[in-house]
Every structure is written in C-alpha cells, then in structure tokens.
C-alpha cells in the first residue's frame, strides 16, 4: 500500500504528518520516500543514517563532430530546442534537455551518444524505529525535479515493504504528479485558511484526475474559518484527522522534533489515521476508475 502525503499549499504540515504516520505504524516494515527533492526535510524528523548513495543522471547527447554532417535532423526532432545546428556544428544545451533520447535515435550518421549528466542524488538508509528511509535531492541550479523523483521511486534499495509513505512536494504540477503516480491513496494535509482551501481544492482535483481515493488531515485546526470543512463535506472528502493549532506543537515542530515523539498521545491517533486510510483504499480498489480504463491497466 503506497500512501502519498500531499497538500497543494506549502507549509501545511505534510512532512510532519507523513513522518508521524510512519513513526506510529513503524512496528510494520515501512519505507519512507522523501519525494520533495527541491527542499527535502523529512530527514530532520526521521534522522536516517544515509549509507546508500546513487547519482541521478539525465542522459544528455554528446555529438561526435567528426561524424556529424550538420544535416540538422537532431534539431528537427528535438522538441525542446536543446540541440541546434549552427555553422556546420551540432550544439547541445544540457539544461534544456529532457533526456528523451530522440536525437540519438534519429541521427542518420549515428554521431550521437548519450552521456549521463548528474542532476541530483538519491540516498537511503535506516532511520529511527526501523523505518527504511530514502530521499532524492535535486542539485541547485538544475531545473527539473521529475527525473530525480522518478528514479527515486524506481530505485528500491530495500526489500519491498508492505507500506510505503511518500512525502510529496507542494504544488500540483509535474513533480507532484510524479510523486503521486503509482500510489494507492492520497492524504491531503490542509489548514483551515483561505490559502489552505484554495490549494486543497486543486490538490483534490489532482487526486481525482489521477483516479485515486483521497482523505484530508486538517492541521492547525482552529485558526482561520470553517470554509475548508464545508468544502470537504460538499466534495465528499473525508476528514480523517484534526491537529489543533497549539503554540507548543508549532514550537516542537520548529525544533525538528516529530509530533508523536514530543506528544505520545498522538501515537494512537496516527495509528487510527492509518486504519482509516486502509479501509478507504480497500473500498476504492474494488471499483475500476475511469482513468484506469482509459489507460488500459
């Protein structure tokens, strides 16, 4: 069972919730994937010993200028304008390249070979409470997070766990989609403010368009107003847990202490959260969603 913890809006407490959930059910074998590769934070709560390491390489074309006839075919097929032919030479712009391999495949002279360019790294190791922890980090100045996330998901440095928790980045675009694809359930963490509501709506739409069941955790409950609750009711989104706004909680999290460690009374509450997620995911599994039919899976 793969649970993606997302939100739409940043700073609502995704990592807090994801880490606490992992700690609460850590009696079972769990893998925690920190997919927020631009700003990974989960290691601060789960303190992994990152012993395994792997570079994330994007395959970038390298042109053998001796073989190149400047025919321009590579520039013709490249949809990103990352390879252009000028003054009888093929010129590559690595940061525009998406690593699709099309130019290499289509060069009539076989003048292109692909060379990995390191854009990030993957790390893994055991964390507290026996949690298997892995994360990806995008290198500063690299524009694309998705390839790092994709490789993180496929890495599998641990024997397969029954439960995988993915900490998803904020937003609703490409890196978020990549982090959620393949999950069984999307847990949306929100706050009861206008910003929280606005972004929850988008994130919920995203989960729906991916055909995945979703549920909500309302964090900092008590600030703001009741519009998030009204929205959840109307949208049929179950509110699975509420964490009240309390200064002591905010301070503990600011210090980098997991919620369930400082306040063990939350342990059974997160265990209960997991049980609810399990039953919602199981209920959904029995229907074949429209999205799945479209993709023929």
């Amino acid at each position: 069972m793969i649970i993606a913890v997302a939100s739409g809006k940043g700073g609502t407490g995704k990592t807090t919730v994801a880490a606490s959930l992992a700690l609460a059910i850590s009696a079972a074998p769990i893998t925690f994937l920190d997919c927020d590769v631009e700003a990974p934070n989960a290691h601060l709560y789960l303190e992994p010993e990152l012993m395994l390491h792997k570079d994330v390489g994007l395959l970038i074309p390298k042109v053998d200028q001796q073989l190149c006839t400047a025919c321009g075919r590579c520039a013709e097929v490249c949809q990103y304008h990352a390879i252009v032919v000028l003054a009888e030479k093929a010129l590559v712009f690595p940061e525009l390249c998406h690593g699709c391999g099309s130019c290499t495949l289509n060069c009539p002279e076989d003048a292109i070979r692909e060379v990995p360019k390191v854009v990030g790294e993957l790390e893994a190791g055991p964390a507290v409470s026996g949690i298997n922890f892995a994360r990806g980090t995008l290198n500063v100045s690299e524009p694309m997070a998705a390839p790092v996330i994709r490789q993180l998901k496929n890495w599998q440095p641990f024997p397969e766990s029954a439960i995988v928790i993915r900490d998803v980045p904020p937003g609703t675009s490409c890196p978020v989609v990549e982090s959620i694809l393949g999950a069984d359930f999307v847990l949306l963490v929100t706050e009861p403010t206008p910003f929280g509501l606005h972004d929850l709506r988008l994130a919920a739409q995203l989960a729906r368009s991916l055909g995945l069941p979703a549920g909500v955790v309302v964090n900092r409950d008590g600030i703001g107003d009741s519009r998030v609750d009204e929205f959840c009711r109307k949208a049929g989104l179950p509110v699975l847990m509420r964490i009240p706004m309390e200064r002591r909680i905010a301070e503990c999290l600011a210090r980098g202490r997991p919620l369930v460690k400082s306040y063990p009374e939350y342990l059974p509450r997160f265990q209960e959260l997991y049980t609810r997620i399990q039953s919602l995911a199981a209920a959904n599994g029995s229907e074949v969603t429209l999205a799945q039919i479209e993709l023929g899976s």
Partner: protein
C-alpha cells in the same frame, strides 16, 4: 551583409521588440541594398529553448548580425557559435535602429553588461555584494 532586428510588427517602421527569443517578428535587412523582409519568429510560442530556436532560425536565414535588447545565455552561446554578432538597442522604430547600425552607433552586446539577469547556466556567477 544581412542584419536581423527583433520587431513587434512585420514592417520596416515597426516598433522594436526588446525580446530576442520571444519577439514577434524578425526583420531581415540587407545592409548594402536596404532591401528588407519580415518573418514571424518561430520561437515565439516555444515552451523552452526559445533562445536557441530563435538563434537557429536567424542563422538559417543567413543573418550575420542581430539587434535586440538583450540575449540570454543560451541564445548568446548559440549566436557566438553561429558567428552572428550581437548588438543591443533600447527602443524605437526598426528603420531608425537600422540606420544607427549602419552609422556604427549601436552598442555591441556583451553578457557581462547584462549583469546576471536571465542567467540560466550560472555563467554570471558574481552576485553583486
């Protein structure tokens, strides 16, 4: 020699378009005969790589020099590789800019004068501190 000037409209007295990669049109002017031709910029609606695409386009049209407001690092690299000289202008009408070019009044573009804006490679690493 052929000069390319980024323009807002496809006519010789069009206003100058400050953008290189995503300008609306390029006006190609023959510096000797003053004959001119306008072409829509194929890179205008590009996702990424507008600079490289625009550079490739004007090189393909035989331009040997280009006037725009500034050139991003990718466009710059591509234009240098193509041997196309870059000049910068601020505003005005294309035909006046052309005259400035002919009389040698246009400033040559250099990336350091662009003070790190629009950098993508990290080429302009010096932060102004």
């Amino acid at each position: 020699m052929k000069l390319a000037i980024s323009a807002v409209e496809p006519i010789i007295n069009a206003p100058f378009d400050a953008r290189f990669g995503r300008c609306a049109y390029f006006i190609f002017v023959d510096a000797e005969t003053h004959a001119w031709k306008a072409s829509p910029n194929p890179a205008l609606t590009s996702g990424g790589g507008a600079g490289t695409q625009a550079a490739q386009f004007i090189a393909g049209q035989g331009a040997q020099a280009v006037v725009s407001s500034s050139f991003g690092p990718n466009a710059y690299e591509a234009l240098v590789a193509a041997g196309i000289k870059m000049y910068s202008a601020r505003a005005g009408l294309v035909e006046n800019i052309f005259e400035d070019f002919v009389s040698g009044e246009l400033e040559e573009f250099s990336p350091s004068s662009d003070s790190g804006k629009n950098a993508r490679h990290g080429r302009h690493k010096g932060a102004r501190r």
